[in-house]
């Protein structure tokens, strides 16, 4: 039917909703109690008419189209999930540590309810490849090995995606989240670490490429044209990013307080050969300087060092190390020693039923930010959690996790390095 051909009197009745209280005015019914006979068009209602429910006036109404309930219902995923109240193992964080643990747990505990709480979508990907993806200019989907929802279905995990873990109630063994309380029998913290932002770096002025979503948004900000990117911090992450952004066609200024990149290792083994290898790439290394100011200048960012040098860049990336967020640990009163202190034998924290692995833990005060230990930590923790589910006489002590000196592979493709 073409309404335009109808006279106003024949036009279909319209609905209008009060955005203060949700009352719906139906032109067909009018509002006889307020003197509007049935059939009163909204346009004909006097301006001083009041919402019969809450008293606001006509200007607080807007046209309303009733939703198609059938369409809404058929579009919503309707599948039974494990009841919220079934306490099982609850894992916080869907990074390498979280998924690795769940893979191993599910292999040994086919029936135990597992819930994964994560601030992101839970997609499975390799974080070290975020930098490589810059060089190859890969779009985000190419990085995702398995969507979070698929991995959750395959492993029969209840996935609470885009959900923030807020607080742990230890007495009632409940994790509080932005999607409601989640009871646990065992809780595993695998939420990782986040970028440290020493002053004058600010979250609204510089990127931290620490997860898939940040990579995606940074890529979008770069656009398709070559840009000038300033990277603050020339450690492992900063150097890899500089290398890969330069290979991706961008001009890079790499800034560090030390006089060479990868200054944690001897100059002759790391910094010097790396700089030599970069000589053909558009990378400028500004060493032995300290950043004093970072500010917007038009569409760009101006970086000023304490010795008066300035750099004008299109985007700024912070690669100034990681810190472990302490909110959850503090809420449960977990012992803290440069991260969540865990027992190497079981990866249990100082509080019963709460465990941790990955970047957020420390063993004897040592944190590790590398991939290699995560697999071994997941094995230890899986044994510890499986033990909990067995009768006491069947329990065997888990293989303790041991801290080893890691060999660090620097994926600077101009000069790949293995450093001890």
């Amino acid at each position: 039917m073409n309404d335009a051909r109808l006279s106003p009197a024949e036009a279909p009745w319209q609905l209008y909703i009060c955005h203060a209280c949700g009352y719906i005015y139906n032109e067909h019914d009018g509002d006889p109690d307020s003197g509007l006979p049935a059939g009163t068009r909204f346009a004909d209602i006097p301006d001083d008419w009041e919402c019969p429910l809450c008293g606001v006036t006509k200007s607080d109404f807007e046209p309303y189209v009733p939703p198609d309930l059938g369409a809404l219902k058929s579009a919503a995923p309707c599948h039974a999930t494990a009841p919220r109240a079934a306490p099982g193992i609850v894992v916080v964080g869907a990074g390498k540590a979280g998924w690795q643990l769940i893979e191993q747990l599910r292999a040994q505990l086919p029936e135990t309810p597992i819930t994964l709480v994560t601030a992101c979508a839970g997609d499975v990907y390799d974080k070290p490849l975020l930098s490589v993806a810059m060089a190859r200019q890969l779009a985000t989907p190419a990085l995702v090995k398995e969507p979070g929802a698929d991995a959750a279905a395959r492993l029969r995990v209840r996935l609470l995606a885009h959900t923030r873990a807020l607080h742990i109630c230890t007495a009632s063994q409940t994790l509080r989240t932005t999607h409601g309380p989640v009871p646990y029998a065992s809780l595993v913290l695998a939420h990782g670490a986040q970028a440290a932002l020493p002053s004058p770096l600010r979250a609204d002025l510089c990127w931290r490429i620490n997860h898939l979503q940040a990579y995606q948004r940074f890529r979008a900000a770069l656009g398709s044209a070559p840009r000038h990117v300033a990277i603050v911090g020339a450690g492992l992450i900063g150097s890899e990013l500089a290398n890969d952004l330069a290979l991706g066609g961008h001009r890079v200024t790499l800034i560090d307080t030390q006089d060479r990149p990868l200054a944690r290792w001897p100059a002759a083994e790391a910094g010097q050969p790396l700089l030599a290898a970069w000589s053909g790439l558009p990378i400028t290394f500004m060493g032995a300087v300290r950043l004093q100011q970072l500010e917007r200048q038009g569409a760009q960012y101006r970086l000023t060092t304490t010795d008066g040098q300035t750099v004008l860049a299109d985007q700024v990336v912070a690669a100034t190390g990681l810190v472990t967020p302490s909110r959850l640990a503090a809420s449960a009163g977990l012992a803290w020693d440069n991260g969540i202190a865990v027992d190497a034998g079981t990866l249990q924290t100082s509080v019963p039923h709460i465990y941790a692995l990955g970047d957020c833990i420390s063993v004897n005060g040592c944190a590790s930010r590398y991939i290699e230990p995560i697999l071994r930590q997941a094995q230890t923790l899986t044994s510890a959690l499986v033990c909990q589910c067995l009768p006491s006489e069947a329990r065997a002590a888990p293989t303790p996790y041991t801290v080893r000196d890691a060999v660090v592979r620097v994926k600077t493709t101009s000069l790949p390095l293995s450093l001890h």
Binding site: L53, D60, A171, S172, R176, T178, P181, C206, A214
Partner: protein, 375 residues
């Protein structure tokens, strides 16, 4: 439970809490049902205020602000009557605006009368708070004029009002993108009309009206803050934290009504989940958390505010569970229209939906937790 095992602040309540208990279990208890059905308890509110029940969180010479005590006072009353506990909160936050505004025209006699309960007031910040959290649009609009503003619009359901009351309100300033005016809206000012609300399922005696505002002049004398946002940022944690008093009190009332039938019905009630002992343990842990947060109500950090929002959300969730479980424990006797058990179920619903409702709290916590990135 042996009282000797309790920490000193619980086993020996402060004098203010004892004064609240006397009023709550005396004159207030007599009228609880009438209040639920529509009687506004002006005299009781004035007694509670005069005893200091709605001003412990306000700093005065020789007396530091004590949010923990203010929350305890509110909890003591909410245990008997959730409506009255809610109106204490209205009066308490209105006092907070009057003190925080730094406007001598409001912070002097007006505040003093308010603290003493000689004048009563409320808060109309539900809509602006949701507007700041990008949940809905601002309903009051202020147009700058000679010496002040002209305000127009209608606020649905503002509580603790009466013909000679007032409340803290916020209006969007026309032509100034995002700017807002916070002011004391006097119910008896020219251009202001109180309209009765349709019947709610409970808490009818809370003096709740729709407030119509036409060409109301707001001058310097009634200005609380312009722009409003810095003041709101300063008091937001205290505003939300004080609401925990309602949740704690209604929950405690529900738990007590479970114990009340334990001797007769314990043999069947043992099969219920959410038993009073477990709920009490959870409430005690939450109360400890709230009291800890109440020590630093002015902490401006986002992390602290998220903690406050989560404690408030936990209070609402626990309140719902406890009230529901109390009805299961009491059975038919709790379902009688005269029973405080079914009344408390409706009060618990109110605690969970009054701004900020559970869903608003969670949305705001998610928003505040999101990692900030360059634009």
């Amino acid at each position: 439970m042996n009282p000797a095992d309790l920490p000193p602040e619980v086993s020996c309540p402060p004098a203010l809490v004892l004064a609240m208990r006397d009023i709550a279990q005396g004159p207030l208890a007599q009228q609880v049902q009438a209040i639920d059905q529509g009687t506004y308890p002006r005299e009781v509110l004035q007694q509670l205020a005069a005893a200091g029940g709605m001003s412990a969180h306000l700093e005065r010479p020789g007396q530091p602000a004590d949010y923990g005590l203010a929350i305890q006072a509110m909890a003591e009353v909410s245990q008997v009557c959730g409506s009255t506990g809610f109106m204490m909160w209205c009066q308490a936050v209105c006092g907070l605006y009057l003190q925080a505004c730094g406007n001598p025209a409001l912070a002097g006699q007006v505040l003093s009368d308010h603290v003493q309960g000689r004048r009563l007031g409320g808060t109309g910040l539900s809509n602006p708070m949701k507007s700041f959290a990008q949940i809905e649009a601002m309903l009051l609009k202020a147009t700058p004029t000679e010496g002040g503003y002209r305000v127009n619009g209608t606020l649905p359901w503002v509580s603790n009002l009466g013909p000679d009351h007032y409340f803290g309100a916020i209006a969007a300033i026309e032509g100034q993108d995002g700017a807002a005016l916070m002011f004391l809206l006097r119910c008896d000012a020219p251009g202001v009309t109180l309209k009765p609300c349709p019947a709610f399922s409970g808490m009818e005696g809370t003096g709740t009206y729709a407030v119509q505002v036409k060409q109301l002049f707001v001058g310097a004398a009634d200005t609380i803050a312009a722009p409003a946002q810095p003041l709101i940022a300063r008091i937001r944690a205290g505003f939300v934290l004080l609401q925990c008093g309602m949740a704690v009190g209604v929950t405690q009332g529900a738990i007590d009504s479970m114990w009340a039938v334990e001797n007769q019905l314990g043999h069947v009630n043992q099969f219920l989940d959410d038993r009073p002992g477990a709920l009490q343990a959870e409430l005690d842990a939450l109360t400890t958390r709230v009291m800890q947060l109440a020590k630093t109500p002015n902490d401006p950090s986002t992390e602290f505010f998220i903690d406050v929002l989560d404690a408030r959300a936990h209070g609402a969730e626990l309140c719902l569970r406890a009230a529901q479980s109390a009805l299961m424990h009491q059975g038919a006797r709790g379902y009688l229209l005269s029973s405080d058990v079914q009344r408390r179920v409706r009060e618990s619903h109110f605690v969970a939906i009054v701004t900020p409702a559970i869903k608003h709290l969670r949305k705001e916590m998610a928003r505040l937790s999101a990692e900030e990135m360059p634009a």
